[in-house]
């Protein structure tokens, strides 16, 4: 017998001994795909730091020079639900956790073979309690407390970041950046802002050969991140290179075109999802140096919007689907002990016990979901919005932006 014959025999024997796949794989795959759609893969990398002092280009208004924290314009108690509205016209809020904005993505053709996924935003007008279209912004991040939002203008990557006073809808100041940015995320206390820089618009879509629709390009142009002090507008940029092989149309292709950075809940690290990695995430210090995942963050999932609870003790997790047809896991941040809670997809914490989630009515189309309030240890589901229509990716489906109190 030759060695290659033995290789062949050993492989065939091993294949024959393999048990078949478990039932329901197709549905699990479709559920994973839904979760990954808008925020996908990444590779991470070596980091060097270039310090860039950013200047204040527009004088501050009198209001809140230093105080970037919320004005508490929204009640911290009680539930404001609009179960007949989709997308919502009037305020949605649960004990202070508020739908601060929502956006509707659409694909806009630019030239033959190229397009961009564009978000149209509606922001909560805090005087009237209604959502008002804000066509000038291509990206909006709302600080906890909803006093301030960070915004980007239409051309991405953008050369400056606007800090919007949500009480009057005016830009309080502009922070110019040397490296164009396309993603924004506030720290938990609202005092820091992480901006993700890209070489090109990460929302570009291209037409693949033989394809009728538009897809995200296979490669990301992400370059690094800024950590900015919101009050002073000062901060530094850290380079974070991309890994993978840019010449391989498949091998290097499991990288999201948009994969934004965020601050950890204690503000000590910057992190991002890395779904192709062993643990699905990568942490950095504030200068962009790779660090090990802190023990208290090891259960974080980059594609679950709710993240950690206000105290940091609990982590919103993946789809569960055991006790109920649509449900999710909530994990103990340290021990990983799982508790099942209702809700198809966990979006935002409401205190330590409740969350806002997408959910469906059992037996209905799995894409026709609405905002609901769910509570750990409770069967109760409180509808907060009307049902979204259309299937995943259909035109007109709105996506929520929540702010913590």
């Amino acid at each position: 017998m030759n060695v290659d014959e033995l290789v062949r025999d050993a492989l065939r024997e091993q294949a024959a001994a393999q048990a078949p796949t478990a039932a329901g794989l197709a549905d699990r795959v479709l559920a994973v795909r839904r979760r990954r759609r808008t925020r996908r893969l990444v590779a991470a990398a070596a980091a060097t730091v270039a310090v860039v002092a950013v200047a204040v280009a527009v004088p501050l208004l009198d209001s809140g020079k230093e105080d970037v924290r919320p004005a508490h314009v929204v009640d911290r108690t009680g539930i404001r639900a609009q179960p007949d509205q989709s997308p919502p016209r009037d305020l949605i809020s649960a004990d202070g956790t508020t739908l601060a904005a929502y956006y509707i993505p659409r694909t806009v053709e630019q030239s033959s073979g190229k397009a961009a996924s564009v978000r149209a935003y509606w922001l909560l007008d805090q005087r009237t309690g209604r959502y008002v279209k804000a066509p000038q912004w291509s990206y909006v991040a709302v600080a906890p407390g909803m006093k301030t939002a960070a915004v980007l203008e239409q051309q991405l990557p953008a050369p400056r970041i606007g800090l919007l006073d949500l009480a009057n809808g005016k830009v309080e100041r502009w922070i110019p950046v040397d490296h164009g940015v396309a993603g924004l995320s506030f720290s938990r206390d609202g005092r820091k802002l992480v901006a993700t820089s890209y070489g090109e618009n990460p929302d570009l879509r291209v037409k693949m050969e033989g394809s009728e629709g538009y897809d995200a390009p296979q490669q990301s142009t992400r370059t690094g991140f800024y950590v900015l002090d919101v009050a002073s507008g000062k901060g530094s940029w850290s380079e974070v290179g991309l890994d993978g092989d840019p010449n391989d149309p498949m091998g290097g292709g499991f990288i999201n075109s948009r994969q934004d950075f965020a601050l950890s809940d204690d503000g000590r690290h910057v992190w991002c999802g890395n779904p192709m990695g062993d643990i699905g995430k990568q942490f950095y210090d504030l200068t962009g140096r790779e660090v090990a995942v802190p023990a208290k963050d090891k259960h974080l999932q980059w594609y679950v919007d709710a993240g950690k609870s206000p105290s940091g003790r609990l982590v919103a997790g993946d789809f569960a689907g055991e006790k109920w047809k649509t449900s999710s896991w909530v994990l103990d941040a340290r021990t990983g002990r799982r508790t099942e809670v209702r809700g198809q997809q966990l979006l935002a914490w409401v205190g330590e016990k409740s969350l806002v989630a997408w959910d469906i009515t059992p037996g209905s189309n799995e894409f026709h979901n609405r905002l609901v309030l769910v509570t750990i240890g409770s069967d109760k589901v409180v509808p907060l919005s009307g049902f979204r229509k259309g299937n995943d990716g259909a035109a007109g489906r709105w996506e929520p932006v929540f702010a913590q109190p």
């Binding site: 017998m1 030759n2 060695v3 290659d4 033995l6 290789v7 062949r8 025999d9 050993a10 492989l11 065939r12 024997e13 091993q14 294949a15 024959a16 393999q18 078949p20 796949t21 794989l25 197709a26 549905d27 699990r28 795959v29 479709l30 994973v32 795909r33 990954r36 590779a43 991470a44 990398a45 693949m208 033989g210 394809s211 009728e212 629709g213 897809d215 890994d243 993978g244 092989d245 010449n247 391989d248 149309p249 498949m250 091998g251 290097g252 499991f254 192709m276 990695g277 062993d278 299937n391 995943d392």
Partner: protein
Amino acid sequence: MNAEGLEGFRDFVDSRSSALLKTAVLLCGGDQHAAEDLLQNALVKAAGRWQRIDEPEAYVRRILYRQQVSRWRLKWPRQEVSVAEPPEAGVAGADAAAAAELRLVMREALSRLTARQRTVLVLRYFEDLPEADVARLLGCSVGTVRSTTHRSLARLRALAPELDALGPADTERLSSRDYSPVEVRP
């Protein structure tokens, strides 16, 4: 994906996923969890463009192979399949028990190859693909396939000395000038 597409996708997964999982398990050197992840990732990718794929199985297989190879390329350390004990020496005898033991030795040795080495062997000897097809699937040159095959077999022999009793494969008879040491990508 419309309702028709969803139905087609479910049918495909129901009918073909077990066969695809076999390949994934071989590519992952017997690591069941890694294989399930690999297959799930490939299916998620296929679902994303389901209605534009003409040959779903070929498409998913290509993703499996390339994804596995690209995992090898990524900078971060991957979870390697750990084998507590080195492959035990078997007897390369002709009887069935000895042959079965030799296959186990081989399986353990295969699990200790790099993902790339294993992928090339799975394509050549499990899928029975010619070198040119393997090269096309992995996006490398025929010379690279040949050299990787050669080195993989040599590595297997190094991992399991009891394989020395076996005769050389065709590819092992090639002179060293017949394979290119540097990978060429299109």
